[in-house]
C-alpha cells in the first residue's frame, strides 16, 4: 500500500483556485474519484464501513514504518463517484501523516479554504465528517499503541 499516491493538499488548493466555480470543481472531484486507488473487494466489509454516509464508504488504514516517526496510510472507497472525489480530498489532508499531525489538523478550516463547506449539503457534510471522525479515531488509537 505504500506505493499509493494521492494529490497533496497544496496541489488540490491550486487546482481548486484555478477552476473557480463549483461546477468545475465538482467535475474535478468526479475525475479525482475515478483516479482514487481501489480498495480490494474483500476489504468492503461491515467493520470497515463508515457510518453516516448516504452511500457506502469503506476505509482501512495501515502504519508506514518507512517513515520516522511512523505515519498512517489510508485507503478508502465509496460506491458513489462524487464521494470518491471527496475521499481524495480527505486523503490529500490526512494520508501519510503522523497520528499527531492528523489529530492536530483543523479540517474545518481546510474545508472552508476550499469552499467545500459552501457547496456540500448537510447530509453530505455529515458523511464527510463521519469519515473525518473515523480517521481521527484511527490516529488516536495508533498514538496510544505507540506510547505503550
Amino acid at each position: 500500500m505504500s506505493s499509493t499516491t494521492y494529490m497533496t493538499l497544496e496541489e488540490l488548493k491550486e487546482e481548486f483556485e484555478f477552476l473557480g466555480d463549483w461546477e468545475a470543481r465538482c467535475d474535478f472531484l468526479i475525475d479525482l474519484g475515478f483516479e482514487l486507488p481501489k480498495l480490494p473487494d474483500d476489504a468492503k466489509i461491515e467493520p470497515n464501513r463508515v457510518h453516516g454516509c448516504q452511500s457506502n464508504v469503506w476505509l482501512i488504514a495501515s502504519v508506514n514504518e518507512d517513515h520516522e516517526p511512523a505515519t498512517i496510510r489510508f485507503l478508502a472507497n465509496s460506491d458513489a463517484m462524487i464521494v470518491n472525489g471527496l475521499i481524495a480530498v480527505l486523503m490529500a489532508i490526512y494520508d501519510d501523516k503522523t497520528p499527531e499531525e492528523i489529530v492536530e489538523t483543523d479540517v474545518e478550516e481546510i474545508f472552508h479554504e476550499l469552499e467545500l463547506d459552501r457547496y456540500l449539503s448537510p447530509a453530505r457534510k455529515n458523511g464527510l465528517f463521519g469519515m473525518v471522525k473515523r480517521v481521527r479515531q484511527i490516529a488516536i488509537l495508533a498514538a496510544s499503541q505507540d506510547s505503550e
Binding site: E23, I30, S55, I82
Partner: protein, 417 residues
C-alpha cells in the same frame, strides 16, 4: 398511450402559474424541475395566502377563547376538519384527528389501538413495500405486547401476492396495515379486496394513505377502512399537519398517545378522564395555521378534480417510463405502468443514485435518491439505493425532457457515454 393522453384535461400552464416556485429561476438561470412531490409537494398561492391571512388578521390559540379571534379560529378549524371528512368520505368530522403528519398518525394508531388490544401471539400483517413509518411503530408495539409482525410476500414485479393472502390472513391476524400506494414502486394496492379479507377474520384495517391521498379518491366508507393516515404537505398543503382518521367506534376503544391540555374531560388529583374524539387525540396546541390552511389545499385539489389529476399524472408517468427505458442499463422497479401511480424508482448501471441525484441537481432537476425510508424493500430489491422521480399535478412534458437531458449530462460526467 394516446387514449390516456386524451383524458389530459388540465391546463398545466395555468396550474403552474398558481405555484409561485415555478415562476422563479435557479441561480444558474435554469428553471425548477421539481420531481420530488412524493416527498413533499410544492404549494399553490392560495395555500400560502391562507396561512398568511390567519397570521396577519386573526391568529389565536384554538379551543380556548370565546373572544372574536378565538371563535373565528375554532370555526375555521372545524371547517377544515369538515373539508377533510368530505375528502375521504368519513361519516362524521369527529373521526378526523389533526396530527403532525402521517408518522404521528400511524404511531397513534399502532400504540393507541394496537397497544391496548394486541396480546401475545396476535399477528400484525405488513409487507416489504411499507414505509418505515408503517413498520417501525408496529415492531415496537409487537415487542411490547408479544404480538408478531408478519410480512405478506410481494410478487416479482412488486405487488402484494394476493394468491397467498389465505396463508397470511388468518384468525390470528388482528391488524392489516398497508400503504395505499408504494412510495418507491408506485404500486397501487387493492384496498377494497384487502379490506374485505381482513374484516372476514375480524381484524382491523389500517391504510397509510400518505402517497395515495394526493393522487386518487380515497373513500373510507366504500373501502371500509378502519384507520387512515396521511399528511397535508404531500397534498399541496402546509407542513406539520397530518390526519388520523378512525371509525368512531374504534376511536372509542383507542387510547390517546399524548396526554395534557385540551384532551381531558376532568382532571382530579389522582386520575383523569378523557374528552370525546377528536379532542381526546389532540393534546396541546395544534398546528393551528397549518390545520386551517389544509382546508384550502383540500378545496384546491377538489377543484381540479382527481380524475383529471390522475389522467395527467398517468400520462407523465408513462412518458417518463418510456424515455427512461431508452437509457442503457436502466432498471425501473415495481409493476407495469397500469398498476402504479406517479412514482418511478430506478437504477442505472454504472451510476450511483447519489451521483445521479447530485448531477441532476446541477441542471435544476430535483429528484430523490437513497432508500426512501424503505430499507426492507431495498433489501428485497437487492440494491441499497435508488433514484426516485415522482410527479405532482404541476409537472409537464418539459420536466421530462429536462430530466432526460440531465441524465444524459450525468452519464457523460460519469463516463458512461
Amino acid at each position: 398511450m394516446s387514449k390516456i393522453m386524451e383524458t389530459q384535461l388540465l391546463d398545466i400552464a395555468a396550474i403552474r402559474d398558481q405555484f409561485p416556485v415555478f415562476r422563479e429561476t435557479l441561480p444558474n438561470g435554469s428553471p425548477v424541475t421539481f420531481l420530488d412531490s412524493g416527498a413533499s409537494a410544492q404549494k399553490p398561492q392560495c395555500v400560502i395566502d391562507a396561512e398568511r391571512e390567519v397570521l396577519e388578521t386573526h391568529y389565536a390559540n384554538a379551543y380556548r377563547g370565546v373572544y372574536q379571534f378565538g371563535a373565528q379560529i375554532d370555526e375555521e378549524l372545524e371547517a377544515s376538519r369538515e373539508a377533510v371528512r368530505r375528502l375521504i368520505n368519513a361519516d362524521d368530522s369527529s373521526e378526523i384527528i389533526f396530527t403532525s403528519g402521517t408518522t404521528m398518525s400511524l404511531n397513534m394508531i399502532a400504540f393507541g389501538w394496537g397497544g391496548r388490544h394486541l396480546k401475545a401471539g396476535d399477528e400484525i400483517l405488513l409487507n416489504h413495500m411499507e414505509h418505515h413509518a408503517n413498520i417501525v411503530p408496529w415492531q415496537q408495539v409487537a415487542e411490547r405486547t408479544g404480538a408478531v409482525v408478519r410480512y405478506l410476500p410481494l410478487t416479482a414485479d412488486g405487488r402484494l401476492d394476493l394468491q397467498r393472502l389465505d396463508e397470511f390472513i388468518t384468525p390470528k391476524t388482528k391488524i392489516l396495515s398497508v400503504t395505499g400506494m408504494s412510495n418507491v414502486l408506485g404500486t397501487i394496492n387493492p384496498i377494497p379486496e384487502l379490506s374485505k379479507r381482513i374484516h372476514d377474520v375480524g381484524g382491523v384495517f389500517v391504510v397509510d394513505a400518505a402517497q395515495s391521498v394526493p393522487h386518487q379518491v380515497v373513500d373510507v366508507i366504500a373501502d371500509q377502512i378502519d384507520f387512515l393516515a396521511f399528511s397535508g404537505h404531500k397534498l399541496y398543503g402546509p407542513t406539520g399537519i397530518g390526519i388520523m382518521y378512525g371509525r368512531s367506534d374504534l376511536l372509542e376503544q383507542t387510547d390517546p398517545l399524548l396526554f395534557g391540555g385540551h384532551m381531558i374531560d376532568r382532571v382530579y388529583e389522582d386520575h383523569s378522564s378523557w374528552a370525546e374524539a377528536p379532542a381526546k387525540f389532540e393534546a396541546g396546541t395544534l398546528p393551528i395555521v397549518q390545520a386551517i390552511a389544509l382546508k384550502t389545499a383540500v378545496e384546491y385539489v377538489e377543484g381540479i378534480g382527481f380524475e383529471a389529476m390522475h389522467g395527467h399524472e398517468v400520462s407523465l408517468t408513462q412518458s417518463a417510463h418510456q424515455r427512461l427505458m431508452e437509457f442503457p442499463g436502466v432498471t425501473i422497479y415495481g409493476p407495469s405502468i397500469e398498476h402504479k401511480g406517479a412514482i418511478l424508482s430506478f437504477t442505472m448501471e454504472g451510476a450511483h443514485p447519489e451521483d445521479l441525484a447530485q448531477l441532476l441537481d446541477r441542471k435544476g432537476v430535483f429528484v430523490r435518491h437513497g432508500h426512501h425510508c424503505t430499507m426492507p424493500l431495498h433489501d428485497l430489491l437487492g440494491v441499497s439505493s435508488t433514484v426516485r422521480v415522482s410527479f405532482g399535478l404541476y409537472n409537464n412534458q418539459d420536466d421530462i425532457d429536462r430530466l432526460v437531458d440531465a441524465l444524459q449530462f450525468a452519464r457523460h460526467r460519469l463516463r458512461l457515454g
